[in-house]
């Protein structure tokens, strides 16, 4: 089983011809931590206004790949990226690219809900304020709209001045989604957004994702195969090779990955035989 041979070809072109255009194109991406190569030759095409799930066993670099999209890897000392990630054709990894602008266009939701220790209102208004919006009426409009988009408005509209930490974990995660939505991103990255939540909160997040994909392109990393199967349109399967570098071994429409994958390892993984 030579992994190097099998990569790329099938994953480089659009998963489904004629579907929505490419929003993000990853080309020959390699990520290094010092001398260690964590990701090798990743190619991936993310369709606009679709949900793309990245699955694979622990430690295969799913999160590293996700964090490359908005250059959060820059924060890790010794991290270096090669290759290209094109957002609407523009390479976000190029040195001329403004990181602040990339992060505004590519929002992120983290594994554990991480609201700021501020009021619910200030949590959502944090982003807009960064971009110079200080008018109270404008902010109120943005906060309301964002909270409605994250399906949290009805639950918190009477307590916007309470701490963001005072609401339940599931609500906190939707608050974090509202906070990301407030700066009107184009792509939303979700790093196992429901892994710390109970089943009902998880369901709400999944329903919310279906709602959000009408306007946003979503990339989600998940350990939960059922979740990938339920929510995503496309699924990318990753695995580590013999040198412990993460590689993408298969990428296709989700129903194909879960019913008739081309790669034996994908089949073993999605049927729970390993991983």
């Amino acid at each position: 089983m030579d992994m190097k041979m099998e990569i790329s070809e099938s994953v480089f072109k659009p998963a489904v011809e004629g579907d929505s255009p490419a929003k993000v194109e990853v080309r020959d991406l390699s990520v290094y931590y010092g001398k260690f190569r964590a990701l090798a030759d990743i190619n991936l095409l993310v369709h606009e206004k679709r949900i793309t799930a990245i699955i694979g066993p622990s430690g295969c670099g799913k999160s590293t790949l996700l964090r490359s999209f908005n250059r959060m890897n820059d924060l890790t000392p010794g991290c270096r990226m090669e290759g290209e990630i094109r957002l609407d054709g523009e390479n976000v990894l190029s040195s001329g690219m403004d990181v602040v602008n990339v992060r505004r266009r590519v929002g992120m939701v983290f594994q554990r809900p991480n609201p700021f220790p501020k009021s619910i209102f200030d949590n959502v208004a944090y982003g807009p304020r960064l971009y110079g919006i200080h008018n109270k009426l404008d902010l109120e409009g943005i906060v309301e709209h964002s909270l409605k988009s994250s399906a949290l408005w009805n639950e918190v509209k009477d307590k916007l001045n309470q701490s963001g930490l005072s609401i339940s974990g599931g609500q906190q995660q939707r608050l974090c989604i509202a906070r990301a939505l407030a700066v009107e991103p184009e792509v939303i990255l979700m790093d196992e957004p429901a892994s710390a939540l109970d089943p009902i909160s998880t369901l709400k997040i999944e329903e919310l994702m279906q709602e959000l994909k009408k306007n946003y392109t979503i990339v989600i990393v998940t350990h939960n195969m059922q979740q990938a199967a339920r929510v995503s349109d496309y699924t990318a399967m990753m695995m580590i090779d013999d040198a412990r570098a993460g590689r993408m071994i298969e990428y296709d429409a989700t129903n194909i990955i879960f019913t008739r994958p081309k790669d034996k390892r994908t089949e073993d993984y999605v049927t729970g035989r390993f991983g």
Partner: protein
């Protein structure tokens, strides 16, 4: 039945009794020692309250000291002086302390970060009288006179290690995910620090300030060589005469900090060794005021932080 079970059951009752006896002995012993450890604390506080309480009245807080041998009078000069030196110390110590701590928390493994941690450890172990001597050599000698300014500087050096250490620890306790959340929205590093890191750590940082302040308030040795003591230090009087001679705010402020000032620990030290019994009685009262001072700082900081935390948690 196996051999072990037989042997075990034979002396089961004795062993249970032994175990209970040992438990009772150890429990009594540890309890007694705990009480013993609490005795000095309550003895000191109780004694100071009893001896000092007799001599405390409103006059004590609002009047200047009377001449030697004259009964009555207060320690307003010492209270004002203590306020001047501690406020100056806070002004000198807090801004650089916080910034240095921020650097150390952000870049802990750089040469500068390691050097800072090492030197704060060393500094916190330097005897306070040595710090006083240092301030004497660096400030008092060149200026050719003792001053509240020199006293504040000496106390600031003593406060620095506590401030740097607690601030650094508190900043490190802020979850990295909060920082990522802010940076992920496109916030620059400085904005993230100002509006997320510091507010999240603020309760702990401020506790550090107040602990350092409470510590500095009670220091005597460094003030002996810097603030010196000044029974005639009277801020109201300085301000009045300043206004009369048309000085501006800065000039008046300079005059307040540029002369020897009194402080509570200094007054206590001086009063306690005088031959007049009234003065010695007053020394006890000063001790009580000093304890109250520190207690108030401690309690208010704790209460304030509790309410803050409760508000944040909702």
């Amino acid at each position: 039945m196996s051999n072990f079970s037989e042997l075990m059951s034979r002396n089961r009752v004795t062993r249970a009794r032994q175990r209970k006896a040992a438990n009772a002995v150890m429990l009594t012993l540890t309890g007694l020692v705990t009480v013993l450890a609490l005795i000095p604390l309550f003895w000191i506080i109780g004694y100071v309250i009893i001896r000092g309480g007799k001599n405390i009245n409103l006059d004590f807080f609002i009047h200047m000291p009377t001449p030697m041998g004259v009964a009555g009078g207060g320690v307003l000069s010492a209270i004002e002086g203590t306020l001047v030196v501690t406020i100056l110390a806070a002004i000198f110590a807090i801004p650089p302390g916080v910034l240095a701590a921020f650097y150390a928390a952000r870049y802990p493994n750089t040469p500068l970060g390691v050097a800072l941690r090492f030197s704060t450890d060393v500094l916190s172990g330097v005897p306070s009288i040595v710090v006083g001597l240092f301030a004497y050599a660096v400030i008092v000698v060149p200026m050719k006179h003792y001053s509240g300014l020199a006293g504040g500087a000496a106390l600031a050096v003593l406060m620095l290690p506590t401030i740097i250490r607690t601030t650094e620890e508190m900043l490190k306790l802020v979850p990295g995910t909060l920082r990522e959340a802010s940076l992920g929205l496109g916030a620059p590093e400085w904005k993230t620090s100002l509006s997320v890191l510091f507010p999240a750590a603020s309760s702990g940082i401020i506790t550090g300030f107040l602990l350092a302040l409470a510590r500095a308030t009670g220091e005597t040795a460094p003030l002996l060589m810097t603030a010196l003591g000044n029974e005639r230090f009277d801020i109201a009087q300085i301000i009045r005469s300043g206004i009369r001679s048309h000085m501006n705010v800065l000039q008046i402020f300079w005059r307040i900090i540029n002369q020897p000032v009194d402080s509570l620990p200094l007054a206590l030290w001086k009063y306690a060794q005088q031959p007049y019994p009234e003065r010695v009685e007053q020394a006890w009262a000063v001790a009580l005021v000093l304890i109250l001072f520190v207690l108030i700082i401690n309690v208010t900081s704790r209460v304030w932080i509790q309410t803050r935390i409760r508000r944040m948690k909702g």
